[in-house]
């Protein structure tokens, strides 16, 4: 049962954590599945969490990176008003772009929260023993992990998602370019919302080829835009049926 912040407030309760869904999780069919998977895990563990529902707006990341500071400020200031009114202290999100903006950019505008990415949150649940992973369905299977730029290179989180994959007893195989040298999927900096500039190749194809070259049957990702980009890249290679793209939370959900 997914409850909104206004429902919590109406009953005078405060949730343990706010789940920031983001535009992708709210509207993109593929990312909605990730959002639901993550909520199922939270329910399974018994976390009291809330979403903002209709009160949530885009964090403003794509506007800011495209150069439109005005639209960014409009969105960010409204979000901060909402979050501060509900006295939100702790936020978890499944989108590394939302994560980065909430964590690193909102403080300068008056929004100070403890923000974690869902891979970090899941790892903390695992470490504290609240979440138990059985392993099994991915045992011995080759999985490669794609570092999103905004979680990895920009926020330095390389270990939490990898540790989660390791608990699945899967065979984690690194791509040629990984961690600090990871190659972008091509979506960041608001590229997701426009066509590539003229070139020889699309960036997502380059990355999908690299993932396929590992021989993995699944690509684990931590970002809705990466998932879209990699899936499209696999389609361009006609590999969409042999290599699957999963969010970290989906892999975990299959094993609890």
């Amino acid at each position: 049962m997914i409850k909104t912040m206004s429902e919590f407030a109406a009953s005078g309760q405060q949730p343990e954590v706010l789940y920031w869904v983001g535009c992708a999780g709210s509207f993109d069919a593929r990312a909605q599945k990730v959002a639901k998977a993550f909520c199922q895990i939270l329910d399974h563990v018994g976390i009291q969490y809330a979403v903002l529902g209709q009160e949530e707006k885009c964090t403003g990341d794509p506007a800011r990176r495209a150069g439109n500071e005005f639209v960014f400020q409009m969105l960010a200031i409204q979000n901060i008003e909402t979050l501060n009114n509900y006295n939100i202290k702790s936020i978890v999100t499944a989108c590394p772009h939302c994560f980065n903006t909430l964590k690193n950019e909102y403080p300068a505008l008056g929004g100070n929260y403890h923000v974690v990415h869902h891979s970090q949150y899941l790892q903390q649940l695992l470490d504290s023993g609240r979440l138990k992973v059985e392993g099994g369905s991915f045992k011995g299977k080759k999985i490669t992990y794609h570092d999103s730029c905004y979680l990895g290179r920009i926020n330095g989180e390389y270990t939490a998602p990898r540790e989660l994959i390791t608990t699945l007893d899967a065979d984690l195989t690194e791509m040629k370019r990984s961690k600090a040298n990871g190659l972008c999927c091509g979506a960041g900096g608001a590229q997701m919302f426009k066509e590539d500039e003229a070139g020889d190749k699309r960036i997502n194809t380059e990355r999908a080829e690299e993932a396929v070259a590992t021989g993995a049957e699944a690509i684990a990702a931590n970002c809705p835009w990466c998932i879209t980009m990699l899936t499209d890249g696999l389609k361009a290679m006609d590999k969409q049926d042999s290599v699957m793209v999963y969010d970290i939370s989906e892999l975990i959900l299959q094993n609890i």
Partner: protein, 466 residues
Amino acid sequence: MAFGIKKFRVLYHFSLICVQTIAILKMASIIFILLASAVFYFAFKAFYTVYQNINLGKPYDWKGQPNGRIKDVLLIALGQKKMFDRPLAAFMHLFIYVAFLMTQVELIEIFIDGIFGTHRFLAPYLGSFYSFIIGFIEVLSLLAFFATLVFLSRRNLLKLPRFTKAELLGWPSTDANLILLGEILLIFGIFTMNGADHLLQQIDPAHYPPVVLPVSSILGPLLFNGLDTSTLVFLERFGWWQHVIVVFGFILYLPYSKHLHIFLAFPNVYFRDPKSRGEMENMPAIMNEVKSMFGLPVLDNSESEELPVFGAGDVTDLSWKNLLDAYTCTECGRCTSVCPANITGKKLSPRKIMMDVRDRATELGSQIKKVAPATNAVDKKAAVSDDKNLFSYISREEIRACTSCNACVEACPVLINPLDIILQMRRYEVLTESQTAEAWTPMFTSLENQGCVWQVPQERDAWIHS
């Protein structure tokens, strides 16, 4: 009258000292002193111009995070930590770099010897330590020679992709090769000088103090054995002057070259951006405007009368750190070789961004020098009748190809940030020129009207109930 005599005496004594000094100094010393003075005069002027060009940039708040700056300079600039992400190039570079650093000790002596006409002035004072230092420099020079050949072949024979990109064609490639050839000349000078010196030590130990030269004691006899003393003396002097002239050439050439990184890498690391990588610099003017639009209290309402330029259209809109970045860049191309846009054939090359910013700053700087001096960079820019700006160098296609992935930022061994400049130029496009990539306009509209990146028919919480 008494005053006149006193004055005359002072003058008389002064000219005596001058005459005596000139008598002590040999002709070679006089040439050396004149040459060195001219070199330092012109070098100072050129370096000062670079300093002025960097100061065309706006103020920059680097003080946010004072801790660890010295440590970073020691690790990243002096210790070259980030170079070692690519070990082969790192070791080759290290040979040249350490040889360069150690040669500075020898250079002190070269200046003393040059001015006073002495030979190996420091040898008697330093004793066996002198032999150690000079021997160490010899070994390093040999390694540096080897490394320089490797670097020349990587550029000209192996033609590594990052050294053959479009932005390096012409002058930038020549610049790189000139520096490498200069190094070869310098090393030739050192070994000619020391090789002849080694043989002369056995002939005239009074004038040529015994110094152990690990490389030249083999090279010298091999090359110069059987030559008569006067030829050896000539060769020793020839090598010495070759060394000196290449060093002077280097000093004069540096402010016009990408090689400036040997100095600027240090301040560039020291003044590194205190913000976290994920944070774009806030724009308080716009924040306050939006806050008052929503009827929210505005804390710092220090509105200036002038209409501010939003984003960066020219180098005067960038910070001085952005410009320091540009002058620090040695065009190694590590940024470009990891840029996803560049890898997939897009026009964007982060290295080209840095080169363009530097070239524009140099161009604007030289034009400003021609017009009457004004109070600040913005006024100076206004006084220049120049219809160019950064967009004359960098196309919109380039800045629009960036995914903000930070690979270029991560790759730079001396903490240069091309991404920051790209994003400031995007801000200029949207906020000052009101133009942007075609597909971004509908995105801005839906963000503004619906708070979502897409135009969406359903409510934001519909997924919960589906």
